[in-house]
Amino acid sequence: MRPQDVRVVERLQPAPDCVELVLEFPQDEEPEPGQFYMLSAGDGRDTYLPRPLSFFRTFSPRRMSFLFRVVGPGTAALGRLRPRDRLQAMGPLGHGFPLPERPLRAALVGGGVGVPPLWSLGRALRQRGCEVIALIGARTRFGLLGQAELQGLGIEVRTATDDGSRGHHGPVTDLLGETGADAVVACGPEPMLRAVQAFAERTRLQDTYLALEAAMACGYGVCLGCAVERKSPDPELGAYGTYARVCREGPVFRWDEVKL
Protein backbone atom coordinates (compact mmCIF):
# COMPACT_ATOMS: atom_id res chain seq x y z
CA MET A 1 0.00 0.00 0.00
CA ARG A 2 1.13 3.53 -0.73
CA PRO A 3 -0.48 6.89 -1.50
CA GLN A 4 -0.14 7.76 -5.15
CA ASP A 5 -0.89 10.61 -7.48
CA VAL A 6 -3.01 9.17 -10.30
CA ARG A 7 -4.53 10.58 -13.47
CA VAL A 8 -7.94 10.15 -15.07
CA VAL A 9 -7.61 8.82 -18.62
CA GLU A 10 -11.24 8.09 -19.39
CA ARG A 11 -14.67 8.73 -17.90
CA LEU A 12 -17.60 6.48 -18.77
CA GLN A 13 -21.19 6.66 -17.63
CA PRO A 14 -22.64 3.13 -17.70
CA ALA A 15 -25.88 4.20 -15.97
CA PRO A 16 -27.48 7.62 -15.36
CA ASP A 17 -26.18 7.85 -11.78
CA CYS A 18 -23.04 5.74 -12.19
CA VAL A 19 -19.53 6.65 -13.32
CA GLU A 20 -16.59 4.50 -14.36
CA LEU A 21 -13.23 6.25 -14.13
CA VAL A 22 -10.21 4.73 -15.84
CA LEU A 23 -7.11 5.75 -13.89
CA GLU A 24 -3.43 5.72 -14.80
CA PHE A 25 -1.04 4.89 -11.93
CA PRO A 26 2.57 6.09 -11.81
CA GLN A 27 3.88 2.56 -11.23
CA ASP A 28 2.81 -0.97 -12.03
CA GLU A 29 0.04 -2.08 -9.70
CA GLU A 30 -0.85 -5.66 -9.03
CA PRO A 31 -3.87 -5.58 -6.75
CA GLU A 32 -5.54 -8.87 -5.85
CA PRO A 33 -9.19 -9.29 -6.79
CA GLY A 34 -11.21 -7.96 -3.84
CA GLN A 35 -8.64 -5.40 -2.68
CA PHE A 36 -9.56 -1.72 -2.71
CA TYR A 37 -8.20 1.82 -2.84
CA MET A 38 -9.01 5.00 -0.95
CA LEU A 39 -9.66 7.70 -3.55
CA SER A 40 -9.83 11.40 -2.80
CA ALA A 41 -10.62 14.20 -5.19
CA GLY A 42 -11.02 17.89 -4.53
CA ASP A 43 -9.66 19.99 -1.67
CA GLY A 44 -11.54 18.19 1.10
CA ARG A 45 -13.87 21.03 2.06
CA ASP A 46 -17.11 19.30 1.02
CA THR A 47 -15.96 15.88 2.02
CA TYR A 48 -12.77 15.36 3.93
CA LEU A 49 -12.50 11.62 3.99
CA PRO A 50 -11.35 9.61 1.00
CA ARG A 51 -13.77 7.11 -0.54
CA PRO A 52 -13.06 3.36 -0.38
CA LEU A 53 -13.65 1.73 -3.77
CA SER A 54 -12.83 -1.70 -5.14
CA PHE A 55 -11.17 -1.61 -8.51
CA PHE A 56 -13.26 -2.85 -11.42
CA ARG A 57 -11.44 -3.62 -14.69
CA THR A 58 -7.69 -3.71 -15.25
CA PHE A 59 -6.40 -2.81 -18.70
CA SER A 60 -2.63 -2.81 -18.18
CA PRO A 61 -0.31 -2.96 -15.15
CA ARG A 62 -0.79 0.78 -14.64
CA ARG A 63 -4.36 1.21 -15.78
CA MET A 64 -7.50 0.19 -13.91
CA SER A 65 -11.03 1.47 -13.55
CA PHE A 66 -13.34 2.26 -10.65
CA LEU A 67 -17.12 2.05 -10.98
CA PHE A 68 -19.37 3.79 -8.48
CA ARG A 69 -22.79 5.29 -7.97
CA VAL A 70 -22.90 8.99 -7.13
CA VAL A 71 -24.55 8.94 -3.70
CA GLY A 72 -22.96 11.72 -1.65
CA PRO A 73 -20.38 14.51 -1.74
CA GLY A 74 -17.41 12.08 -1.92
CA THR A 75 -18.64 10.18 -4.94
CA ALA A 76 -19.95 13.44 -6.45
CA ALA A 77 -16.43 14.94 -6.30
CA LEU A 78 -15.04 11.81 -7.96
CA GLY A 79 -17.86 11.85 -10.53
CA ARG A 80 -16.98 15.42 -11.54
CA LEU A 81 -13.46 14.39 -12.59
CA ARG A 82 -12.60 14.53 -16.26
CA PRO A 83 -9.76 13.07 -18.34
CA ARG A 84 -6.36 14.55 -17.33
CA ASP A 85 -7.62 15.50 -13.84
CA ARG A 86 -5.48 14.23 -10.97
CA LEU A 87 -6.47 12.60 -7.70
CA GLN A 88 -4.97 10.65 -4.81
CA ALA A 89 -5.24 6.87 -4.60
CA MET A 90 -4.01 4.98 -1.54
CA GLY A 91 -3.69 1.26 -1.92
CA PRO A 92 -4.01 -1.54 -2.70
CA LEU A 93 -5.65 -2.22 0.67
CA GLY A 94 -7.08 -5.18 2.54
CA HIS A 95 -7.20 -8.87 1.75
CA GLY A 96 -8.70 -10.10 -1.49
CA PHE A 97 -10.55 -13.29 -2.34
CA PRO A 98 -8.82 -16.63 -1.78
CA LEU A 99 -8.32 -18.37 -5.13
CA PRO A 100 -9.01 -22.09 -5.51
CA GLU A 101 -6.17 -24.54 -6.10
CA ARG A 102 -8.28 -26.76 -8.34
CA PRO A 103 -10.85 -25.70 -10.95
CA LEU A 104 -14.39 -25.51 -9.60
CA ARG A 105 -17.80 -24.13 -10.44
CA ALA A 106 -18.15 -20.67 -8.93
CA ALA A 107 -21.15 -18.37 -8.66
CA LEU A 108 -20.47 -14.64 -8.37
CA VAL A 109 -23.32 -12.64 -6.86
CA GLY A 110 -23.32 -8.88 -7.36
CA GLY A 111 -25.93 -6.40 -6.19
CA GLY A 112 -25.97 -2.89 -7.67
CA VAL A 113 -22.54 -1.30 -7.38
CA GLY A 114 -21.25 -4.48 -5.71
CA VAL A 115 -20.33 -5.85 -9.12
CA PRO A 116 -16.85 -4.27 -9.62
CA PRO A 117 -14.71 -6.64 -7.49
CA LEU A 118 -16.32 -9.63 -9.22
CA TRP A 119 -14.84 -8.77 -12.61
CA SER A 120 -11.19 -9.27 -11.65
CA LEU A 121 -12.13 -12.31 -9.58
CA GLY A 122 -14.09 -13.75 -12.50
CA ARG A 123 -11.09 -13.28 -14.74
CA ALA A 124 -8.72 -14.95 -12.25
CA LEU A 125 -11.12 -17.87 -11.85
CA ARG A 126 -11.46 -18.28 -15.60
CA GLN A 127 -7.65 -18.26 -15.92
CA ARG A 128 -7.60 -21.12 -13.41
CA GLY A 129 -10.00 -23.11 -15.51
CA CYS A 130 -13.06 -22.53 -13.34
CA GLU A 131 -16.59 -22.51 -14.65
CA VAL A 132 -18.04 -19.17 -13.59
CA ILE A 133 -21.60 -17.94 -13.53
CA ALA A 134 -22.51 -14.40 -12.49
CA LEU A 135 -25.80 -13.40 -10.90
CA ILE A 136 -26.39 -9.67 -11.15
CA GLY A 137 -29.16 -7.92 -9.28
CA ALA A 138 -30.49 -4.38 -9.04
CA ARG A 139 -33.66 -2.47 -8.21
CA THR A 140 -34.45 -1.88 -11.88
CA ARG A 141 -32.90 -2.84 -15.20
CA PHE A 142 -31.14 0.54 -15.30
CA GLY A 143 -29.10 -0.43 -12.24
CA LEU A 144 -27.75 -3.69 -13.69
CA LEU A 145 -24.02 -3.11 -14.02
CA GLY A 146 -21.10 -4.99 -15.48
CA GLN A 147 -23.11 -7.47 -17.53
CA ALA A 148 -21.29 -6.96 -20.83
CA GLU A 149 -17.89 -6.78 -19.11
CA LEU A 150 -18.45 -10.11 -17.35
CA GLN A 151 -19.76 -11.74 -20.51
CA GLY A 152 -16.59 -10.52 -22.21
CA LEU A 153 -14.67 -12.87 -19.89
CA GLY A 154 -16.70 -15.84 -21.06
CA ILE A 155 -18.90 -15.78 -17.98
CA GLU A 156 -22.59 -16.62 -18.16
CA VAL A 157 -24.64 -13.80 -16.62
CA ARG A 158 -28.14 -14.13 -15.14
CA THR A 159 -30.02 -11.10 -13.91
CA ALA A 160 -32.66 -10.24 -11.36
CA THR A 161 -34.50 -7.01 -10.61
CA ASP A 162 -36.69 -5.96 -7.71
CA ASP A 163 -39.29 -4.53 -10.10
CA GLY A 164 -39.12 -7.37 -12.63
CA SER A 165 -38.05 -5.04 -15.43
CA ARG A 166 -35.39 -7.56 -16.46
CA GLY A 167 -34.55 -11.16 -15.58
CA HIS A 168 -35.86 -12.79 -12.46
CA HIS A 169 -38.48 -10.73 -10.60
CA GLY A 170 -37.13 -10.77 -7.04
CA PRO A 171 -33.89 -10.96 -5.07
CA VAL A 172 -30.86 -12.08 -7.05
CA THR A 173 -30.09 -14.63 -4.34
CA ASP A 174 -33.20 -16.59 -5.45
CA LEU A 175 -31.06 -17.71 -8.39
CA LEU A 176 -28.32 -19.26 -6.25
CA GLY A 177 -29.99 -22.66 -5.82
CA GLU A 178 -30.05 -23.51 -9.51
CA THR A 179 -26.37 -22.71 -10.18
CA GLY A 180 -24.99 -25.93 -8.69
CA ALA A 181 -21.93 -23.94 -7.59
CA ASP A 182 -19.13 -25.36 -5.38
CA ALA A 183 -18.17 -21.84 -4.32
CA VAL A 184 -20.06 -18.56 -3.95
CA VAL A 185 -18.66 -15.05 -3.80
CA ALA A 186 -20.91 -12.08 -3.11
CA CYS A 187 -20.64 -8.31 -2.99
CA GLY A 188 -23.54 -5.95 -2.60
CA PRO A 189 -26.00 -4.45 -0.13
CA GLU A 190 -26.30 -5.96 3.34
CA PRO A 191 -29.72 -7.65 2.88
CA MET A 192 -28.29 -9.46 -0.14
CA LEU A 193 -25.21 -10.55 1.81
CA ARG A 194 -27.43 -11.81 4.63
CA ALA A 195 -29.39 -13.90 2.13
CA VAL A 196 -26.11 -15.35 0.83
CA GLN A 197 -25.06 -16.15 4.41
CA ALA A 198 -28.40 -17.91 4.94
CA PHE A 199 -27.90 -19.88 1.71
CA ALA A 200 -24.42 -20.98 2.81
CA GLU A 201 -25.76 -22.03 6.19
CA ARG A 202 -28.63 -23.98 4.65
CA THR A 203 -26.54 -25.73 2.00
CA ARG A 204 -23.37 -26.05 4.13
CA LEU A 205 -21.40 -24.45 1.32
CA GLN A 206 -18.26 -23.53 3.25
CA ASP A 207 -16.57 -21.89 0.25
CA THR A 208 -18.79 -18.83 0.43
CA TYR A 209 -17.10 -15.45 0.68
CA LEU A 210 -18.49 -11.97 1.18
CA ALA A 211 -16.85 -8.69 0.21
CA LEU A 212 -18.04 -6.05 2.68
CA GLU A 213 -18.41 -2.33 2.44
CA ALA A 214 -18.28 -0.09 5.53
CA ALA A 215 -18.10 3.53 6.57
CA MET A 216 -14.37 4.02 6.80
CA ALA A 217 -12.04 6.94 7.50
CA CYS A 218 -8.52 5.69 6.77
CA GLY A 219 -8.69 2.36 4.91
CA TYR A 220 -5.36 1.15 6.35
CA GLY A 221 -6.25 0.09 9.86
CA VAL A 222 -5.69 3.05 12.15
CA CYS A 223 -9.12 4.67 12.62
CA LEU A 224 -11.05 1.56 13.70
CA GLY A 225 -14.11 3.07 12.04
CA CYS A 226 -15.03 0.14 9.79
CA ALA A 227 -15.95 -2.33 12.51
CA VAL A 228 -17.83 -5.54 11.72
CA GLU A 229 -18.86 -7.98 14.42
CA ARG A 230 -17.01 -11.29 14.44
CA LYS A 231 -19.01 -14.48 14.84
CA SER A 232 -16.36 -16.29 16.86
CA PRO A 233 -13.92 -13.80 18.36
CA ASP A 234 -10.47 -14.92 19.47
CA PRO A 235 -10.87 -15.47 23.24
CA GLU A 236 -7.24 -14.34 23.72
CA LEU A 237 -8.21 -10.82 22.68
CA GLY A 238 -11.06 -10.43 25.16
CA ALA A 239 -13.60 -7.73 24.36
CA TYR A 240 -11.12 -6.20 21.90
CA GLY A 241 -11.81 -9.10 19.55
CA THR A 242 -15.54 -8.34 19.27
CA TYR A 243 -15.07 -6.40 16.05
CA ALA A 244 -12.83 -6.90 13.05
CA ARG A 245 -11.68 -4.11 10.75
CA VAL A 246 -13.26 -4.38 7.31
CA CYS A 247 -10.22 -2.58 5.86
CA ARG A 248 -7.48 -4.85 7.27
CA GLU A 249 -8.96 -8.20 8.24
CA GLY A 250 -11.36 -7.84 5.28
CA PRO A 251 -12.90 -6.59 3.11
CA VAL A 252 -13.37 -10.26 2.14
CA PHE A 253 -14.62 -12.57 4.89
CA ARG A 254 -15.83 -16.15 4.81
CA TRP A 255 -19.61 -16.24 5.33
CA ASP A 256 -19.33 -17.63 8.86
CA GLU A 257 -16.73 -15.15 10.13
CA VAL A 258 -18.98 -12.11 10.53
CA LYS A 259 -22.39 -11.11 11.87
CA LEU A 260 -24.26 -8.80 9.54
Binding site: Y48, A215, A217, G221, L224, G225, A227, Y240
Partner: protein, 310 residues
Protein backbone atom coordinates in the same frame (compact mmCIF):
# COMPACT_ATOMS: atom_id res chain seq x y z
CA UNK B 1 16.47 25.69 11.71
CA UNK B 2 16.18 24.52 15.32
CA UNK B 3 13.13 22.26 15.38
CA UNK B 4 13.68 20.75 18.82
CA UNK B 5 11.21 21.70 21.52
CA UNK B 6 10.83 20.87 25.18
CA UNK B 7 7.56 19.99 26.86
CA UNK B 8 7.37 18.89 30.50
CA UNK B 9 11.05 17.98 30.57
CA UNK B 10 10.87 15.89 27.39
CA UNK B 11 12.96 17.06 24.44
CA UNK B 12 11.23 16.32 21.15
CA UNK B 13 13.52 16.41 18.10
CA UNK B 14 10.76 18.27 16.28
CA UNK B 15 7.39 19.57 17.44
CA UNK B 16 5.23 17.24 15.30
CA UNK B 17 3.55 14.33 17.07
CA UNK B 18 0.76 12.01 16.00
CA UNK B 19 -2.51 12.40 17.88
CA UNK B 20 -4.04 9.62 19.94
CA UNK B 21 -6.67 7.49 18.25
CA UNK B 22 -5.60 8.24 14.68
CA UNK B 23 -2.40 6.22 14.63
CA UNK B 24 -3.09 2.98 16.47
CA UNK B 25 0.23 1.87 17.98
CA UNK B 26 2.23 2.83 14.91
CA UNK B 27 2.35 -0.51 13.13
CA UNK B 28 0.35 0.56 10.07
CA UNK B 29 2.14 3.89 9.52
CA UNK B 30 5.47 2.07 9.90
CA UNK B 31 4.64 0.29 6.63
CA UNK B 32 4.74 3.73 4.97
CA UNK B 33 7.59 5.66 6.60
CA UNK B 34 10.20 5.57 9.35
CA UNK B 35 8.51 6.48 12.63
CA UNK B 36 11.85 7.85 13.86
CA UNK B 37 11.11 10.92 11.75
CA UNK B 38 8.37 11.89 14.22
CA UNK B 39 8.83 14.14 17.20
CA UNK B 40 6.57 11.82 19.13
CA UNK B 41 3.73 9.32 19.01
CA UNK B 42 0.63 9.64 21.20
CA UNK B 43 -0.75 6.11 21.12
CA UNK B 44 -4.36 4.97 20.95
CA UNK B 45 -6.03 5.05 24.39
CA UNK B 46 -5.07 2.13 26.62
CA UNK B 47 -7.49 0.82 29.25
CA UNK B 48 -6.91 -1.75 32.00
CA UNK B 49 -8.97 -4.45 30.26
CA UNK B 50 -9.51 -4.91 26.51
CA UNK B 51 -12.43 -2.82 25.20
CA UNK B 52 -14.72 -3.71 22.31
CA UNK B 53 -15.56 -0.17 21.21
CA UNK B 54 -18.98 0.90 19.98
CA UNK B 55 -21.17 -0.99 17.52
CA UNK B 56 -21.07 0.28 13.92
CA UNK B 57 -21.79 2.72 12.30
CA UNK B 58 -18.88 4.53 13.94
CA UNK B 59 -18.03 7.13 11.29
CA UNK B 60 -19.88 9.94 9.55
CA UNK B 61 -18.74 12.43 6.96
CA UNK B 62 -18.84 16.15 7.69
CA UNK B 63 -17.82 19.22 5.69
CA UNK B 64 -14.13 19.87 6.37
CA UNK B 65 -13.88 16.92 8.71
CA UNK B 66 -15.57 13.87 10.11
CA UNK B 67 -17.45 12.52 13.08
CA UNK B 68 -16.36 9.42 14.93
CA UNK B 69 -17.63 7.37 17.82
CA UNK B 70 -15.15 4.49 17.91
CA UNK B 71 -15.59 4.12 21.66
CA UNK B 72 -11.92 3.51 22.49
CA UNK B 73 -11.67 -0.02 21.14
CA UNK B 74 -8.27 -1.16 22.40
CA UNK B 75 -6.50 -4.41 23.30
CA UNK B 76 -5.90 -3.41 26.93
CA UNK B 77 -2.84 -2.80 29.13
CA UNK B 78 -1.28 -6.25 29.01
CA UNK B 79 -1.35 -6.44 25.22
CA UNK B 80 0.02 -2.91 25.01
CA UNK B 81 2.95 -3.75 27.29
CA UNK B 82 3.82 -7.09 25.70
CA UNK B 83 3.13 -6.40 22.00
CA UNK B 84 2.67 -2.73 21.14
CA UNK B 85 5.21 -0.94 23.33
CA UNK B 86 8.07 -3.30 22.35
CA UNK B 87 7.32 -2.53 18.69
CA UNK B 88 7.46 1.24 19.26
CA UNK B 89 10.61 1.01 21.38
CA UNK B 90 12.64 0.24 18.26
CA UNK B 91 12.06 3.74 16.94
CA UNK B 92 13.87 6.91 17.92
CA UNK B 93 10.76 8.87 18.86
CA UNK B 94 9.02 9.81 22.10
CA UNK B 95 6.14 7.53 23.02
CA UNK B 96 3.32 9.11 24.99
CA UNK B 97 0.82 6.64 26.39
CA UNK B 98 -2.79 7.78 26.28
CA UNK B 99 -4.51 6.34 29.35
CA UNK B 100 -8.25 5.87 29.68
CA UNK B 101 -10.67 3.99 31.90
CA UNK B 102 -14.10 4.20 33.47
CA UNK B 103 -13.04 5.16 36.98
CA UNK B 104 -10.15 6.30 39.14
CA UNK B 105 -9.14 2.78 40.01
CA UNK B 106 -8.92 1.83 36.33
CA UNK B 107 -6.88 4.92 35.41
CA UNK B 108 -4.48 4.20 38.27
CA UNK B 109 -4.08 0.56 37.27
CA UNK B 110 -3.02 1.56 33.74
CA UNK B 111 -0.72 4.31 35.00
CA UNK B 112 0.99 1.92 37.44
CA UNK B 113 1.33 -0.66 34.68
CA UNK B 114 2.98 1.83 32.34
CA UNK B 115 5.16 3.49 34.99
CA UNK B 116 8.77 2.39 34.87
CA UNK B 117 8.44 0.73 31.46
CA UNK B 118 11.37 1.41 29.17
CA UNK B 119 10.44 3.54 26.17
CA UNK B 120 7.58 5.49 27.71
CA UNK B 121 8.24 9.25 27.66
CA UNK B 122 5.01 10.47 29.23
CA UNK B 123 1.41 9.75 30.06
CA UNK B 124 -1.52 11.54 28.47
CA UNK B 125 -4.64 11.27 30.62
CA UNK B 126 -7.69 10.98 28.42
CA UNK B 127 -10.44 12.57 30.45
CA UNK B 128 -12.11 14.03 27.37
CA UNK B 129 -13.40 11.26 25.12
CA UNK B 130 -16.97 12.14 24.18
CA UNK B 131 -17.74 8.68 22.75
CA UNK B 132 -17.93 6.43 25.79
CA UNK B 133 -20.68 6.62 28.38
CA UNK B 134 -18.55 8.15 31.13
CA UNK B 135 -15.83 9.60 28.92
CA UNK B 136 -16.41 13.19 29.93
CA UNK B 137 -17.14 12.40 33.57
CA UNK B 138 -13.87 13.88 34.83
CA UNK B 139 -13.94 16.86 32.46
CA UNK B 140 -17.34 18.17 33.48
CA UNK B 141 -16.16 19.03 36.97
CA UNK B 142 -12.68 20.60 37.49
CA UNK B 143 -12.58 19.34 41.10
CA UNK B 144 -13.15 15.81 39.96
CA UNK B 145 -10.50 16.16 37.25
CA UNK B 146 -8.07 17.57 39.81
CA UNK B 147 -8.81 14.68 42.15
CA UNK B 148 -7.88 12.17 39.47
CA UNK B 149 -4.77 14.08 38.42
CA UNK B 150 -3.57 14.30 42.04
CA UNK B 151 -3.93 10.55 42.52
CA UNK B 152 -2.19 9.78 39.23
CA UNK B 153 0.54 12.26 40.16
CA UNK B 154 1.32 10.15 43.24
CA UNK B 155 1.35 6.95 41.20
CA UNK B 156 4.03 7.89 38.67
CA UNK B 157 7.08 10.05 38.10
CA UNK B 158 6.47 10.15 34.37
CA UNK B 159 5.57 13.54 32.90
CA UNK B 160 1.81 13.89 33.06
CA UNK B 161 -0.18 15.47 30.23
CA UNK B 162 -3.94 15.98 30.56
CA UNK B 163 -6.05 16.07 27.41
CA UNK B 164 -8.54 18.90 27.55
CA UNK B 165 -12.07 18.68 26.21
CA UNK B 166 -13.56 21.48 24.10
CA UNK B 167 -17.00 20.33 25.29
CA UNK B 168 -16.91 22.32 28.51
CA UNK B 169 -17.83 25.89 29.35
CA UNK B 170 -14.44 26.77 30.80
CA UNK B 171 -11.47 24.82 29.40
CA UNK B 172 -9.06 27.19 31.16
CA UNK B 173 -10.67 26.51 34.54
CA UNK B 174 -10.35 22.80 33.86
CA UNK B 175 -6.71 23.20 32.78
CA UNK B 176 -5.91 25.30 35.84
CA UNK B 177 -7.39 22.68 38.17
CA UNK B 178 -5.28 19.99 36.47
CA UNK B 179 -2.13 22.13 36.64
CA UNK B 180 -2.63 22.79 40.33
CA UNK B 181 -3.14 19.07 40.94
CA UNK B 182 0.22 18.28 39.38
CA UNK B 183 -0.21 18.02 35.60
CA UNK B 184 3.04 18.88 33.78
CA UNK B 185 1.39 19.80 30.48
CA UNK B 186 -1.96 19.93 28.70
CA UNK B 187 -2.98 18.70 25.29
CA UNK B 188 -5.86 20.37 23.48
CA UNK B 189 -8.24 19.70 21.95
CA UNK B 190 -10.11 16.41 21.93
CA UNK B 191 -12.97 16.16 19.42
CA UNK B 192 -16.00 18.45 19.45
CA UNK B 193 -19.27 16.69 20.22
CA UNK B 194 -21.57 16.60 17.21
CA UNK B 195 -24.14 14.64 15.23
CA UNK B 196 -25.08 13.66 11.68
CA UNK B 197 -28.61 12.65 10.61
CA UNK B 198 -29.49 9.99 8.05
CA UNK B 199 -32.62 11.25 6.29
CA UNK B 200 -33.57 7.90 4.69
CA UNK B 201 -33.18 5.87 7.88
CA UNK B 202 -34.67 8.66 10.00
CA UNK B 203 -32.04 8.43 12.71
CA UNK B 204 -28.53 9.64 13.52
CA UNK B 205 -25.89 8.19 11.17
CA UNK B 206 -23.71 7.02 14.04
CA UNK B 207 -25.01 4.13 16.17
CA UNK B 208 -23.81 5.93 19.30
CA UNK B 209 -26.00 8.85 18.08
CA UNK B 210 -23.35 11.49 18.85
CA UNK B 211 -19.74 11.53 17.70
CA UNK B 212 -16.66 13.70 17.94
CA UNK B 213 -16.01 16.21 15.16
CA UNK B 214 -12.42 16.49 13.97
CA UNK B 215 -10.50 17.74 10.95
CA UNK B 216 -9.94 21.24 9.54
CA UNK B 217 -13.45 22.26 10.65
CA UNK B 218 -12.36 22.32 14.31
CA UNK B 219 -9.07 24.19 13.86
CA UNK B 220 -10.49 27.56 14.98
CA UNK B 221 -11.84 25.95 18.14
CA UNK B 222 -8.49 24.32 18.87
CA UNK B 223 -6.55 27.53 18.27
CA UNK B 224 -8.83 29.49 20.58
CA UNK B 225 -8.50 27.00 23.42
CA UNK B 226 -4.71 26.61 23.02
CA UNK B 227 -4.36 30.40 22.99
CA UNK B 228 -6.47 30.79 26.14
CA UNK B 229 -4.63 27.99 27.98
CA UNK B 230 -1.19 29.40 27.09
CA UNK B 231 -2.28 32.88 28.09
CA UNK B 232 -3.60 31.87 31.49
CA UNK B 233 -1.42 28.97 32.66
CA UNK B 234 2.27 28.29 33.27
CA UNK B 235 2.37 24.70 32.06
CA UNK B 236 3.04 23.98 28.36
CA UNK B 237 0.37 23.01 25.85
CA UNK B 238 0.50 20.50 23.00
CA UNK B 239 -1.87 21.81 20.34
CA UNK B 240 -4.07 19.73 18.06
CA UNK B 241 -7.27 20.01 16.09
CA UNK B 242 -7.43 20.21 12.30
CA UNK B 243 -3.73 20.42 11.55
CA UNK B 244 -3.10 19.33 7.97
CA UNK B 245 -0.19 21.50 6.86
CA UNK B 246 3.00 23.11 8.14
CA UNK B 247 1.14 26.39 8.09
CA UNK B 248 -1.53 25.04 10.45
CA UNK B 249 1.21 23.73 12.76
CA UNK B 250 2.88 27.16 12.78
CA UNK B 251 -0.44 28.81 13.66
CA UNK B 252 -0.73 26.54 16.70
CA UNK B 253 2.85 27.29 17.78
CA UNK B 254 2.19 31.02 17.42
CA UNK B 255 -1.02 30.67 19.44
CA UNK B 256 1.02 29.19 22.28
CA UNK B 257 1.55 25.48 21.68
CA UNK B 258 5.04 24.10 22.43
CA UNK B 259 4.38 21.13 20.17
CA UNK B 260 1.53 19.96 17.94
CA UNK B 261 -0.16 16.71 17.05
CA UNK B 262 -1.54 15.60 13.69
CA UNK B 263 -4.71 13.53 13.84
CA UNK B 264 -7.51 13.25 11.30
CA UNK B 265 -5.23 14.49 8.49
CA UNK B 266 -3.59 11.03 8.39
CA UNK B 267 -6.86 9.54 7.16
CA UNK B 268 -6.81 11.70 4.06
CA UNK B 269 -3.02 11.71 3.71
CA UNK B 270 -1.22 8.89 5.53
CA UNK B 271 2.09 10.70 4.97
CA UNK B 272 0.84 13.94 6.58
CA UNK B 273 3.06 13.85 9.70
CA UNK B 274 6.46 13.66 7.91
CA UNK B 275 5.17 16.06 5.23
CA UNK B 276 4.13 18.57 7.89
CA UNK B 277 7.58 18.42 9.54
CA UNK B 278 9.15 19.50 6.23
CA UNK B 279 6.53 22.15 5.57
CA UNK B 280 6.83 23.56 9.08
CA UNK B 281 10.57 24.01 8.67
CA UNK B 282 9.97 26.09 5.52
CA UNK B 283 7.07 28.02 7.09
CA UNK B 284 9.18 28.93 10.13
CA UNK B 285 11.93 30.21 7.88
CA UNK B 286 9.54 32.16 5.65
CA UNK B 287 8.00 33.80 8.74
CA UNK B 288 11.46 34.84 9.96
CA UNK B 289 11.81 32.47 12.91
CA UNK B 290 15.12 30.75 13.61
CA UNK B 291 13.62 28.13 15.92
CA UNK B 292 10.40 26.66 17.22
CA UNK B 293 11.08 28.53 20.45
CA UNK B 294 11.04 31.86 18.63
CA UNK B 295 7.69 31.09 17.02
CA UNK B 296 6.19 29.99 20.32
CA UNK B 297 3.32 32.29 21.33
CA UNK B 298 4.43 34.90 18.77
CA UNK B 299 0.75 35.78 18.37
CA UNK B 300 0.02 35.57 22.09
CA UNK B 301 1.86 38.44 23.88
CA UNK B 302 0.25 37.70 27.25
CA UNK B 303 1.67 34.18 27.18
CA UNK B 304 5.15 35.47 26.28
CA UNK B 305 5.02 38.12 29.00
CA UNK B 306 4.10 35.50 31.56
CA UNK B 307 7.31 33.49 30.82
CA UNK B 308 9.44 36.65 30.96
CA UNK B 309 7.98 37.52 34.36
CA UNK B 310 8.59 34.02 35.67
Amino acid sequence: MELATEVAGITFKNPVLTASGTFGYGREAAELYDLSLLGGVMVKGVSREPWSGNPPIRIARAPGGMLNAIGLQNPGLEHFLTVDLPFLRDYDTKVIVNVVDHDEEGFLAVVRGVDGQRGVAAIELNISCPNVADGLLFSQDPDRAAGLVAKVRQATRLPLIVKISPNVTDPVGLGRACAQAGADALSAINTVLGMAIDVERRRPVIANRTGGLSGPAVKPVGLRIVYDLARALDIPVIGMGGIESGRDALEYLMAGARAVAVGTAVFRDPLAPPRIIGELERELEAAGFASVGEAWAAANPDARRRTQDA
